[in-house]
């Protein structure tokens, strides 16, 4: 059964957020988006969140607590560690890719240059997670 997702988008760049929202707004299925501007803000949201998000979309390069730091913190947290996290970054740096996979991720998307390609890949990821069962309800 397809369901709408609760998504936590962790991204510091305004235009990246616009890109994401524009993509979402054109989808046939509504999703619920919560935005955080860096790892610190995202952690604060998660710690006080009553219901946890189904999916985290995570940028790597951010101020304060960056993506990798954020990822290693939630992977150690007993309540947060099952939340599937998809990396959304412009870096295909080999070191980043392998560190993320070691910490445990549900996907690693390198943002394509063109918006149409970006939209398509976001849509595909969300379409996949729509049909998944999650640990937390």
């Amino acid at each position: 059964m397809r369901k709408s997702l609760n998504i936590l988008l962790v991204e510091d760049d305004m235009i990246e957020i616009m890109k994401f929202n524009r993509t979402i707004s054109k989808l046939a299925y509504p999703h619920n988006i919560v935005e955080a501007k860096n790892g610190e803000e995202a952690l604060n949201i998660l710690y006080k969140y009553e219901s946890l998000p189904d999916l985290i979309l995570l940028d790597l390069n951010m101020p304060k607590i960056n993506g990798l730091e954020f990822l290693s913190i939630i992977r150690k947290n007993i309540q947060l560690k099952y939340i599937p996290t998809v990396i959304l970054t412009s870096s295909n740096d080999h070191k980043d890719v392998s560190e993320c996979h070691q910490l445990g991720i549900a996907g690693y998307l390198v943002k394509p240059l063109k918006f149409a390609d970006y939209s398509e890949s976001i849509k595909t990821v969300l379409d996949y997670w729509c049909f998944n069962e999650f640990v937390q309800a």
């Binding site: 760049d13 235009i15 990246e16 616009m18 890109k19 524009r22 390069n61 412009s90 870096s91 740096d93 080999h94 070191k95 943002k111 240059l113 063109k114 918006f115 149409a116 970006y118």
Partner: protein
């Protein structure tokens, strides 16, 4: 005497550090610029989408040109990142069946239908860093494809084995390269402008990888008839599989 040796060592160390810093810097800057380009590209496509009726054909044309420039700049940054990464991390040792690897590379390149890329004979299995080796073949093959100016193009990949090393060849039947450019083309940012997407980084990446392995590269070429790029990879106990 000892003193001079020590000075030399210190100088080398200093140079090495500075080189690494430069590489890191190029890497960092390129990544940041790539992010900004993504933003620009998105904003541009929205203007096109939202205002195409209002701004008229000529402006749409200009926006398309902007888009092309952005694409080229993105490729350029990608090349700089690739170039600066070579030598930065230690080489991995993968066992590579070049017959499989080179076919995969050919498939991954967007080769026009009128150009045929063939492997002549059997390529060796050797041990090298798979990503680095891919850069060598990928850049040389895509150059060969881009050089093509005939209606039906052909690119031949071959190898000769001698006691000390393998000599690979990538032969095209394209427009050829005048003698005066044979050395120059290996310099960073040199492009002969045969292809609009060319950044002038491809061959310098190839050369830099081959330098790491103690390989050499040279070419034979005749204008209008085509070029053959040769490169060697030394055989040693480490890369004989």
């Amino acid at each position: 005497m000892l003193n001079i040796m020590r000075q030399k060592e210190q100088l080398l160390l200093k140079l090495k550090n500075q080189n690494e810093q430069l590489n890191d810097y190029a890497h960092l800057v390129s990544h940041d610029l790539k992010s900004s380009l993504r933003s620009l590209s998105a904003l541009l496509s929205w203007v096109k989408e939202d205002c195409s009726e209002k701004i008229g054909e000529e402006s749409i044309c200009n926006l398309n040109l902007m888009e092309e420039k952005i694409e080229k700049m993105d490729q350029f940054l990608e090349d700089i990142i690739n170039y600066s990464e070579i030598g930065g991390t230690s080489l991995k040792i993968n066992t590579i069946d070049l017959n499989v690897k080179v076919n995969k590379i050919i498939e991954s390149l967007d080769i026009p239908k009128n150009i045929n890329v063939v492997i002549k004979g059997k390529l060796p299995v050797l041990k090298a860093d798979a990503r680095r080796l891919r850069q060598v073949f990928q850049n040389l093959i895509s150059n060969a494809v881009n050089f093509n100016d005939k209606e039906v193009g052909l690119v031949e990949i071959g190898v000769e084995e001698t006691e000390g090393f393998y000599t690979f060849s990538i032969k095209d039947f394209g427009q050829g390269i005048p003698k005066e450019y044979h050395e120059k083309i290996f310099n960073t940012f040199t492009t002969l402008g045969y292809h609009e997407k060319s950044t002038g980084m491809g061959l310098s990446i190839v050369k830099r990888v081959l330098d790491l392995y103690g390989g050499e590269i040279w070419l034979e070429s005749e204008v209008l008839k085509g070029s053959t790029f040769y490169f060697t990879l030394p055989k040693n106990k480490a890369n004989e599989a």
